[in-house]
Amino acid sequence: MKDIRWGLIKQQMLVQLHVRTLNLLSLGLFVIQPAVFTAVGMLLSHAAGNAMPDLVYTVIGGGIMGMWSGLVFSSTYDITGDRLYGTLELIVGSPTSLTTIEAIRTLTNVLAGVSSLGLAFLAALAIFGYSLKGINFWGAIVSLLLLLFAMWCIGIFLANFLAWSRLSGGFVDYIEMPIAFLCGFMYPIRVLPGWLQILSGAIPIRWALQAMNESLLGNHDWSFLVIHWAITIGISLVFIAITRCLQDKVHDSIRVSGELSSI
C-alpha cells in the first residue's frame, strides 16, 4: 500500500476531470449518444409491434454504450491531446511512467462513464417502471465492478497504441462500433451467429456484461456467474500483460532512438 502514490492519483484524476472529462464532448458521449441509441432500440421495438421495449438491453444497454464510447474517445484523445500540446515528451521523459499516468487517466474515464450507466438505469426505473424485484443484486454489483475493470484494461491497451504510433489513432477510433457490436451492448450475445460469438469471447467486456445482464434479468445461477467473472478477470489480465510487454519494448526504443515525435 505504501507504494501507491495517492497524491499522484488524486492530482491526475483532478486534472483529467477538469481538462478532458467534464466538457461538451463528454456530454454528447455520456448522455446524448446513449439516449439516441436507446431511442433507436425503442422505436425499432415499436416498429416490430412490441408494446414495451426490453429495459435491460435497450435502455440500460444504452448506458453501457455511453460508457464505452466515452472511454474509447477520452482515453485515445488523451495521448492525441498530449501530442498536440507538446506534453507527451515531458510525460515520457518524467520519472513517472506513461503506463501509470495512462492507468490513472483511464480509471477516471471509466468512473466518469458510470454516470452514463447511472442515468440509463435511472431512466429505466423512473420513466419505464423497471422493477428491481427478482434481480440478482450482488451478482449485478460484482459483474459491474468486473465490467469496469475489463473496460479499464481495454482502455489502457488502446490508449497506448496512440503513444506507439500517431497513425494508430484512426484505427483506435474504428474500434468503438466493432466492440459494441461484438460484445452485444444492446442485445444478448445469443443473437449473433456462432462464429461471431466465438470471436467476441476474446473480449473481456463481453463476459462481464453478459453476467451483469443475466443478473439484472434475475439469473441466480452462481456457477454461471462465477465462470463468467473468472473468464473476465483472466482475459483482462492477458490484455494487461500484452500492454506491459509491448509498452516496455516501445518505450526502450523511444528513449534510445529519440523518435517519439516522429512515430
Binding site: 461538451l24 464532448l25 454528447g28 446524448i32 449518444q33 439516441v36 441509441f37 431511442a39 433507436v40 432500440g41 422505436l43 425499432l44 421495438s45 415499436h46 416498429a47 416490430a48 409491434g49 412490441n50 421495449p53 426490453d54 438491453y57 435497450t58 497513425l167 484512426g170 484505427f171 477510433d173 474504428y174 468503438e176 462500433m177 466493432p178 459494441a180 457490436f181 452485444g184 451492448f185 444492446m186 442485445y187 444478448p188 443473437v191 449473433l192
Partner: protein, 266 residues
C-alpha cells in the same frame, strides 16, 4: 471578360481539390477506406442485430437506410470539418482577409465530399448485395443514382450550417456529431418515419434526407420518375433552403466577427 467570368469556377474547383486533398492526403489507404466504410458498416451491423433482437424482421431496411446515410454524412462532415480545420490550423483569418468571393471558396469545400460520398454509397450497395443479398432485380438505377446524388448535395446544406457554427465555436464537429446521431432516428434510416411520434414526423419532413431516402428506397423497388418526382422536388426545395440558410448564416457570422475582430478568440 471571359477570365473574370471563369474566375469563380476556377476558384471553386481549386478550393474543392485543395480542401479535399489537404484533409485526406495524409491518410493511408486503410485509414481512408476504414473511415469511409468501417464505421458505417459496423454501426449498421449493430442496428441490424438490435433489430433482430426486438423482432424487427426487415434487416434490409436498415442496410439500405445506413448505406444511404453514407453520402449524407460524408457531405456534412466534410464541409463542417473543412471550415473547422481552417480555424484549427490558423488559416481561416487569411481566407476571410482575402478578396476572393466567399461563394466559390466555401461552396467548393463540398464538391469532392459529394462525389466521394456518392462513390462510397455505390460501394456500400455493392457490399450490401454481396453480404446481405440485397435484391436489385427491380431497381431503377438511374433514379437511385439521382437520389444518392441529391441526398449528398442537400445534406451539404447542413454541413454549411454546422460549418458556420465552427466559425464561432471550436466545437462545431461535436454539435454535428450529436446532430448526426439524431438522424439515425429522424430521417427513416433504421425504421419508417411513420413509426415516429407525430411531432417528430413533422421534424423529420423539415429536414433534408427524409424525402431523398424515401425516394431512393422506392427507386430500389423500381419506381420511376413519375412516382418519386414529388419527393425529389420536396428534397430539392428543403435542401436549397438549408444550403441558402447555411451560406447566409456563414456571411452573417463572418461580418459580425470582422466588425468585432473576435474570429479566432472565440
Amino acid at each position: 471578360m471571359i477570365k473574370s467570368l471563369l474566375r469563380p469556377f476556377r476558384l471553386y474547383l481549386t478550393q474543392a481539390w485543395l480542401s479535399y486533398n489537404g484533409r485526406l492526403a495524409i491518410t493511408s489507404p486503410f485509414g481512408y477506406l476504414a473511415s469511409k466504410l468501417g464505421f458505417p458498416f459496423f454501426l449498421m451491423l449493430f442496428f441490424i442485430f438490435m433489430g433482430k433482437f426486438v423482432g424487427f424482421t426487415n434487416p434490409l431496411y436498415i442496410v439500405i437506410g445506413n448505406v444511404l446515410l453514407i453520402p449524407a454524412s460524408s457531405s456534412m462532415f466534410g464541409v463542417t470539418n473543412a471550415i473547422g480545420d481552417e480555424r484549427g490550423w490558423g488559416t481561416l483569418s487569411y481566407i476571410l482577409g482575402s478578396p476572393a468571393p466567399r461563394m466559390p471558396v466555401f461552396m467548393g469545400r463540398a464538391f469532392f465530399y459529394i462525389l466521394d460520398g456518392f462513390v462510397t454509397a455505390i460501394i456500400g450497395f455493392v457490399i450490401a448485395v454481396g453480404i446481405f443479398h440485397l435484391d436489385l432485380s427491380r431497381i431503377n438505377f438511374a433514379m437511385l443514382v439521382l437520389c444518392i446524388f441529391l441526398v449528398a448535395i442537400t445534406s451539404s446544406g447542413l454541413g454549411f450550417l454546422f460549418g458556420s457554427i465552427s466559425l464561432v465555436s471550436r466545437d462545431g464537429w461535436i454539435y454535428l456529431n450529436t446532430f448526426l446521431s439524431a438522424l439515425y432516428i429522424l430521417v427513416g434510416v433504421n425504421f419508417p418515419v411513420e413509426s415516429l411520434p407525430p411531432v417528430l414526423q413533422k421534424v423529420a419532413f423539415g429536414l433534408p434526407l427524409t424525402r431523398g431516402i424515401l425516394a431512393a428506397r422506392m427507386a430500389l423497388q423500381g419506381a420511376g420518375w413519375s412516382i418519386i418526382r414529388q419527393l425529389v422536388a420536396g428534397e430539392v426545395l428543403v435542401g436549397a433552403i438549408y444550403i441558402l440558410a447555411g451560406f447566409l448564416c456563414f456571411r452573417l457570422i463572418e461580418k459580425r466577427s470582422m466588425a468585432s475582430g473576435t474570429l479566432d478568440a472565440m
